[in-house]
Symmetry: C2
Amino acid sequence: MEFVERRSGISLWRQIADQIRIAISNGEFSDTDMLPGELALAKRFEVNRHTVRSAIASLAREGVVRVEQGRGTFIAGHQRLHYPIGRRTRFSAGLAGQTRTLSGSLKESRMETASAQVAQALALDPGAPVVRLVRVSTADDVPLSRAISWFDGTRFPDFAERLAKQRSITAVLKSFGIDDYVRISTRISAHHADPQTLEDLRLSPGAIALRTEAINAEVGGRRVEYSNTYFAADRIELDIDHETPSTGL
Amino acid sequence: MEFVERRSGISLWRQIADQIRIAISNGEFSDTDMLPGELALAKRFEVNRHTVRSAIASLAREGVVRVEQGRGTFIAGHQRLHYPIGRRTRFSAGLAGQTRTLSGSLKESRMETASAQVAQALALDPGAPVVRLVRVSTADDVPLSRAISWFDGTRFPDFAERLAKQRSITAVLKSFGIDDYVRISTRISAHHADPQTLEDLRLSPGAIALRTEAINAEVGGRRVEYSNTYFAADRIELDIDHETPSTGL
DNA sequence: TTAATTTGTCTATTTATCTAGACAACTAGA
DNA sequence: TCTAGTTGTCTAGATAAATAGACAAATTAA
């Protein structure tokens, strides 16, 4: 007997779909790689069989399971990508080897004035000109993240134009004479995805966005980039590198 | 005009409540600290006024807003706690100063045999005895996290009994002669909270759990603790410490 | 006081979700 | 082939969510 809550604003089929998805990721059915029958699930969640069918139909649409008449419902392996975060975090390098294809597309770019938050992160004066970019990354034809980045507009006035040609942030920074940069702070939180993120990442309402708020700086400490990245939480997890403070000893 | 999706398994009032909550945390209404009127919100989301009222009622139950007849709906400040994560992560110390009260309670403890995952994390053989603890932490009378920890059962047979007296993991480890330990890996992911977590953290279905999967070890590298901690995502964010690799230079 | 604007409550109706049951279609094993 | 167990489809009815409109109650400012 599991818990489903009525009148919660989440339909029963959706609560059941969420619980089955979690159970799968916890390896509950890994012995057979099959879900129990619809009648068994209906009994377990104390709902009608049709309600369970709605939940399974939703999981099938997501590609989490595959249903075969007369045989049963099979689990279609569903592994999260691993994204390492540390001082030397680089997007493409971090996911290398985990996907067949990996691409990024620039959705928006504009010059704006720095909000208090952006100004503080980049160590600029509030109202200073900044370049704001929105990029969506896609791995194996599935959107993975939506990133909003800010750069000093005075120092990097044509960042967007260069990015169109260079294809990676690292390469563009190199073209500005910045050979190396490091992550100096990362803040992680989780939210229900906002409408724009839902659309760009092809998620459905209620889906979770894992947000990283990061500051990158040159080795001397001069701020280079401030970014807010929203990952589709069901497609990725973040691995934190705890580097040894004194490597040489 | 904002997006609300029908037939998605999430009721309209809940989608609207989620969007208003996000808008508040983005500072959208920070100029007046008030929500727009019910009619204005109904127009913005293209729904009936009563649907907006349901959404606001839900936010009021959560304590996010406060409604006053004839005056309007006021935003009740709602700040996330900040939990620093680094090599020297300590639960109580990390949240010190951010809350009036902070307590932890042991919900379960038992000896079990190590699963493949636990065995690998603690560098034990699968099937070896391990101590499994479930602890729930509470800050200012609101549950914050649910942590499942595993320790080597051979080395720490009476860990649970000592924890009942000592009150912190660090203190218990000290009683076993371990004066210092460091975080060697942290993996972060976000999920819809499972039913047990919903109950322990007093969340409603659809709520988000921010999960950290962590390994702590002695300075020599010997594994001490493996833990899975589920935080209420709307009450906390995680700050990653990117320590400088060579501090002395 | 008055008017305008706000939230609160009530009734009625429509639409979506969930339940209930029956039976068809398909699969695997006896 | 037969049977038991599975998913697929249909009908009907009950419950919950959303819409629509009217008016009450409280607040604010003119």
